[in-house]
């Protein structure tokens, strides 16, 4: 199913699958039980999220800041495995047929599972696409072949440092949407949306008709409104992961839903 952004700007929400936050009582959650992530994802979708990125936790998240590093460590300690994230995808697909669902991972867990087996399983579960943080277009031959064979959308990252020739390559190999990184750096919240972002989106649009989503550092309604002026969607990651970190598993779905509803209501839109 093609990824569609129902509103403008669209919202993409990243969740570290299997992270139950700081206050989870381990005694009450079985290893590998992803029901908390499921409830948060459903609440996020119902609050207006267009695409859920289900993050597969990895031991060495070199592109992530402290918030997602901590969430990944908690998720791994809770026994989260790739197969369970794929199973959760199927559960979300059955419950919310219209929602966009991406599997978001570092490469190594996918390689260990088997690229072909992963593509088959992700497609069968009803995922729309895949984003691999440490996969660049030059190395993506097998990956792209598997995505094509199974009808999954490969989403690539584009960076402010990517020259036009790379953006052309990235655009040529992407499907679903293109994920524009708002600034050089790792994931994490920031106060100001970097001026880099608008210039990057403009450069990307020269090469593609695909929607462009902007992520890294987007944490409030003002940021979302600003992104809406030049891009198709905003990606919210660390701000929501941090909210989940602070919430109890019972509170988390409601907190996340309210946060996402608030993202559509800018209090004060500043000029870029």
């Amino acid at each position: 199913m093609p990824i569609r952004f129902q509103q403008h700007p669209g919202l993409v929400v990243y969740l570290t699958a299997g992270d139950n936050g700081l206050h989870a009582d381990a005694a009450h959650i079985r290893p590998g039980d992803l029901s908390v992530t499921r409830d948060i994802a459903l609440a996020a979708i119902d609050a207006g999220t267009d695409v859920i990125e289900l993050g597969v936790p990895f031991s060495d998240p070199m592109a992530d800041g402290p918030v997602i590093q901590r969430a990944s460590e908690r998720a791994l300690r809770a026994g989260t495995r790739l197969q369970q994230v794929i199973d959760l995808t199927a559960e979300l697909r059955a419950a919310r047929p219209q929602a966009g669902i991406l599997l978001f991972s570092y490469l190594n867990p996918i390689l260990r599972y088997g690229m072909r087996r992963f593509a088959d399983a992700a497609a069968a579960a009803g995922a729309d696409g895949v984003l691999l943080t440490d996969m660049i277009v030059e190395e993506a031959g097998d990956y792209l072949a598997e995505m094509k064979r199974t009808g999954l959308s490969p989403v690539f990252l584009a960076a402010p440092t990517s020259p036009d020739a790379r953006l052309e390559d990235i655009a040529a190999h992407s499907a679903g949407f293109i994920y524009a990184i708002s600034r050089t750096g790792i994931t994490g919240k920031q106060q100001q949306l970097a001026a880099d972002a608008a210039a990057l989106v403009e450069r990307i649009r020269r090469w593609t008709q695909l929607p462009v989503a902007v992520g890294f550092g987007i944490s409030n309604a003002d940021h979302v409104a600003q992104v809406g002026r030049f891009a198709d969607a905003a990606v919210i990651g660390s701000a929501i992961v941090e909210l989940i970190e602070r919430s109890t598993p019972e509170e988390a779905p409601g907190s996340v839903a309210r946060f996402i509803e608030g993202l559509r209501q800018p209090q004060l839109v500043q000029a870029l």
Partner: protein, 417 residues
């Protein structure tokens, strides 16, 4: 239990590949966040330009000779040879280099390259601290800002090197994530580089990471093998039968091996950290317990669990305590051109004492892995055979660990409350 074991190639590698620059068989490549790609391409180009520029090479050669102390001697270890009763044992004395290990070869090369590229902010990771000290030294020499990432566990066990780096003017930033060792320091250095990529040069310390690092770092250490080859021909009129080197990331080993790759009669033997046991988490023997995968930008053997999560490692030596290995070693392993074995902590400590007392040479714990394998195989070899150990570093930095582990009189004073 024997101190060493031999590993076997896997049935097949998991990644198909198209032959591109930076590949060693199926291994190597570039698996990095997109943000770094422009910087890696810029680095690749700048390195190619520098490598073909005689003035760059002349300046590096001058510093290697007059600042670092090259060529390093090839020493005949007569007493150890006599005690073991087998092959003639030679030591390639990289431990005599300025800053105490081979690491200065690469730090000087990349430091000059950074200056040539106009980058004044230098970052690096370090495990045992030898690469950190070498980088801090080069930054002092060239007048550049220097930030070193080092795991908290390694800071604790290699305190002397931390103090040296700070004295040299470097900022040493502790890394508290994961196992708080070398792997985590690399992650943090990569995060810094992604963030400050436009102004910063990352001096990666081993033949690891994304292309062009494995090739470039190897090239800066090739001088070890080139000298060794010439020295051996002058001394013995022939090439050695075997060369032994420890393998963490594998920079000293690839430097020693590279000039001999075409000399099929010269056995090349890499020695990994056998740690305290065979279970995942107790060692850093990637070729025994690892499978091919991607960690920190390169495709190589990785110690990992069945879900592809990178395993913790253990070694008495901080410099070998690392979950993956340089991709060129992975290719040499699979082709059978080099053999990889491991030495456990106990045999390594024994090797330190043996070499110190036989020859008056105190090896680094890392280098002592190669010495341990030498102690094992030299007696089995005929007296006319020639064995070379690449003694990659000296053991002064390890005195705290050695004093405690070996219960040397006076070591109680080193115990902290």
């Amino acid at each position: 239990m024997a101190g060493t074991t031999v590993s076997h190639p896997p049935e097949s590698a998991a990644i198909e590949h198209t032959p591109t620059a930076g590949r060693f068989g199926p291994y190597g490549g570039r698996y990095v966040p997109e943000t770094l790609m422009a910087a890696l391409n810029e680095l690749e180009q700048a390195y190619a330009d520098a490598a073909s520029d005689p003035t760059f090479q002349a300046e590096l050669d001058d510093l290697l000779r007059n600042f670092a102390g090259r060529p390093t001697p090839l020493y005949f270890a007569a007493h150890l040879t006599q005690q073991l009763g087998g092959a003639k044992i030679y030591l390639k004395r990289e431990d005599l280099l300025h800053t105490g290990a081979h690491k200065i070869n690469n730090a000087l090369g990349q430091g000059l390259l950074a200056r040539r590229m106009g980058k004044r902010r230098i970052i690096a990771e370090t495990g045992a601290g030898q690469h950190g000290v070498a980088t801090a030294t080069v930054c002092a020499l060239l007048g550049m800002e220097c930030i070193i990432y080092m795991g908290e566990e390694d800071i604790r066990r290699q305190e002397l090197n931390v103090l040296r780096m700070r004295l040299l003017g470097a900022e040493v930033l502790p890394v508290a994530s994961g196992s708080r060792t070398l792997k985590d320091a690399v992650n943090e250095a990569l995060r810094d580089w992604v963030t400050n990529v436009r102004t910063t040069y990352y001096i990666l310390g081993s033949a690891l990471g994304p292309h062009p690092y494995p090739t470039m770092v190897r090239d800066f250490h090739r001088v070890i093998g080139i000298e060794l080859r010439q020295q051996m021909l002058e001394r013995e009129g022939r090439l050695p039968d075997a060369i032994l080197a420890c393998v963490g990331g594998g920079s000293n080993a690839i430097g020693a091996f590279h000039a001999f790759l075409e000399d099929r009669d010269v056995r090349l033997i890499g020695v990994e950290a056998g740690g305290r046991g065979k279970a995942l988490g107790d060692h850093a023997a990637r070729f025994e317990g690892g499978v091919p995968g991607v960690l920190q930008g390169t495709y190589s053997y990785v110690l990992q669990d069945e879900d592809g999560q990178v395993a913790l490692t253990h070694s008495v030596s901080a410099g070998l305590d690392y979950a993956t290995v340089g991709p060129e070693h992975a290719a040499l392993h699979d082709s059978g051109r080099a053999t990889y074995v491991s030495a456990d902590d106990a045999h390594v400590l024994d090797a330190v004492v043996r070499l110190a007392r036989a020859e008056g040479i105190l090896p680094a714990l890392e280098s002592a892995h190669a010495v341990a394998e030498c102690l094992r195989i030299a007696p089995e070899m005929p007296r006319h055979a020639i064995l070379v150990v690449n003694l990659s570093g000296r053991g002064d930095k390890d005195m705290g660990i050695l004093a405690r582990e070996l219960k040397i009189a006076g070591a109680e004073a080193l115990e902290r409350p």
